[in-house]
């Protein structure tokens, strides 16, 4: 009670030790040497514990679990990154893939080519529903095998209708094609007026100059609005950590396409932009055993897709949705093969057949 000066002195010496509460309150017991030491020790221990717990934040590569690393957490949007920042991001992805899969990927940021707008065409007269495209896509794009994620869905539809209500992607046949059905694979249509892009609240998905709708997987917040907005069921969500055997990993990767995704983000078909922006074919086109899938630059009048759009009968899925897809279905002009595919087809009478069989 008789020594206020020591109290003031103690406060002066250690203003951070948390004893300021006692300084202004004269009714409280004064600070003794014992209590001062005790409180100082507690405060020091607390500060040390806090510093230790914040230690990971000083290491940008430290794994923070669901958040990833601090570097990933603080990474900018794809469009705002400078070249050095992109290099750092790619180095981080490379490091993460090495840790998780044990091999060094060739991950890069492939930009859109000038004067190129990609368009896809699929020949409904030729598709046999073998699902090779589905699995080639999964292998190329490092899709999760467990739980299973697939970008392409092959619909089996009875001949004589294009009624999606009667379509079935659960067909399980000994051999395809079935004579009474035709097959319509559906994947991302890369719409020119994409509803998925409009609804994204954080602009994590956008349309590139070559028409491909892409996702910045590090910017996506996983709200799944885009999944709900898509009329083609083309977007997939990672409900859990995607699993992929390390020996099936495709090391040919791009930032915007097939680098490994994390839990809680959307993903979708990107027309294999890591291949197509370097002039190659998408995996689904190259694997199609019947050549039903066609891909190319619609701005080039010589390209296959331009020829198809010029001279074939084109069908746009859900045209009434107004999404202006870059994915076109087309048909060959041909009569049923020997009447076998349509048993009740009437024999052509009184007109010239332009079929492809002599």
């Amino acid at each position: 009670m008789t020594d206020p000066p020591p109290e003031a002195g103690a406060n002066d010496q250690s203003p951070s030790s948390g004893d300021r509460l006692d300084s202004g309150d004269s009714s409280r017991p004064t600070l003794t040497r014992r209590s001062f030491l005790r409180r100082s020790a507690a405060a020091t221990a607390g500060a040390a514990a806090l510093a230790a717990s914040l230690r990971p934040l000083t290491d940008p590569e430290f794994d923070l679990g669901d958040v990833g690393s601090l570097q990933k957490f603080l990474q900018k949007h794809y469009k705002e990154m400078t070249e050095e920042e992109m290099d750092r991001a790619l180095a981080r992805i490379r490091r993460e893939v090495e840790q998780r899969f044990g091999l060094t990927p060739n991950v890069r940021d492939v930009k859109a080519m000038d004067g190129v707008e990609f368009v896809y065409a699929l020949n409904l007269s030729r598709c046999i529903g073998c699902r090779k495209c589905v699995h080639a896509c999964a292998a190329e794009n490092n899709l999760s095998r467990d739980p299973e994620i697939q970008y392409i869905r092959v619909l089996e539809i009875p001949k004589g209708t294009i009624d999606l209500e009667r379509a079935d992607h659960h067909y399980d046949r000994e051999t395809v094609p079935d004579r009474d059905h035709f097959y319509m694979p559906v994947q991302c249509h890369q719409c020119a007026d994409p509803p998925c892009v409009k609804v994204c609240p954080v602009e994590a998905t956008w349309q590139e100059p070559d028409g491909i709708v892409v996702i910045d997987y590090d910017w996506c917040i996983g709200c799944r609005y885009c999944e709900a907005a898509c009329p083609y069921w083309a977007r997939r969500f990672n409900f859990t950590e995607p699993n992929l055997p390390a020996d099936e990993l495709n090391p040919d990767m791009a930032y915007l396409s097939n680098r490994p995704r994390a839990k809680g983000v959307m993903e979708k078909c990107t027309f294999c932009l890591h291949r197509t922006r370097e002039g190659r074919m998408p995996a689904c086109v190259e694997v199609c055993p019947v050549g039903a899938r066609k891909f190319g630059n619609v701005l080039d009048p010589e390209s296959e897709v331009s020829q198809i759009l010029k001279s074939k009968r084109i069908f746009v899925l859900k045209e009434e949705a107004g999404t202006l897809p870059r994915f076109f279905y087309y048909f060959d002009e041909r009569r049923p093969r020997s009447g076998a595919n349509v048993p009740d087809a009437p024999a052509p009478v009184g007109r010239v057949e332009l079929g492809d069989e002599a």
Partner: protein
């Protein structure tokens, strides 16, 4: 001190109560009856060969080689020595593995050249090597040939850019067997994992379901290996069919 304790005790009680409540809620969300796991089925194994981009067929090359009795023979090694009879409708004595199923086109020499057996015969007197088979096919399949020339029929490989020297097109015989050109049906690769969960329940069959069951929208079936084997026992769908069939049986 007494006042302090009376002040702090309710606070502590409230704090502890809130903590316990939240912990209980968390436990309920994590382990409670409403927890639904994501439906999972074991991943399917797709052999890399099944998604190979190689052509379906490897047609005969520029100088066709046939394997006869274990020997690799070039056409003219036999046909240059032995004069073959004019073509009639008869059973072949050689090349017996060939099944000719090409519509109206049912004569060997419609396509093969009589004199030079390692070449193909166009209309008139022209002959072409086997590698230019598309010109022969074009004589009958004009519209298809036109489509193929423009890339609308058949497989294009390498690059999407027609100006790229990496782009190439497969020729007719790399997909079609000239003797039996219709594309042969084959087994499709496995379908989506929901297929392996069994068929979807119909609305009228819904009935009381366990909401915690992740597969509640599906009829439960034993896990089918791929390729699926049609099983008659152990199948709820079948037992349901049996039950529905019973009244008719009694009649």
């Amino acid at each position: 001190m007494g006042g302090r304790r009376s002040h702090s005790t309710p606070t502590a009680v409230i704090e502890i109560t809130i903590t316990v409540c939240f912990l209980a809620l968390a436990a309920w969300f994590l382990f409670g009856p409403r927890v639904t796991a994501i439906p999972r089925t074991p991943p399917v194994a797709v052999v890399p060969a099944e998604i190979s981009t190689a052509p379906v067929r490897a047609p005969l090359g520029d100088v066709p080689v046939a394997v006869i009795a274990g020997f690799e023979m070039r056409c003219m090694e036999c046909h240059g020595l032995f004069e073959s009879r004019p073509e009639t409708a008869r059973r072949l004595t050689q090349h017996t593995h060939i099944v000719l199923d090409h519509g109206l086109n049912d004569r060997c020499f419609n396509c093969h050249d009589d004199a030079q057996r390692d070449r193909l015969a166009l209309r008139g007197d022209k002959t072409i090597p086997f590698t230019q088979v598309a010109r022969l096919c074009a004589e009958c399949h004009g519209p298809t040939y036109r489509d193929w020339q423009r890339g609308m029929h058949g497989r294009t490989m390498g690059s999407w850019d027609p100006r790229s020297d990496r782009q190439w097109r497969l020729i007719c015989s790399q997909c079609h067997d000239p003797h039996s050109p219709a594309y042969k049906p084959f087994k499709p690769l496995p379908g989506p994992n929901t297929l392996r969960m069994g068929p979807l329940r119909k609305k009228d069959e819904q009935g009381p379901v366990d909401r915690a069951d992740p597969l509640r929208h599906w009829q439960h079936e034993p896990e089918r290996p791929h390729p699926p084997v049609p099983s008659k026992d152990l199948d709820p769908a079948h037992s349901r069919d049996d039950r529905s069939a019973q009244p008719e049986d009694r009649l």
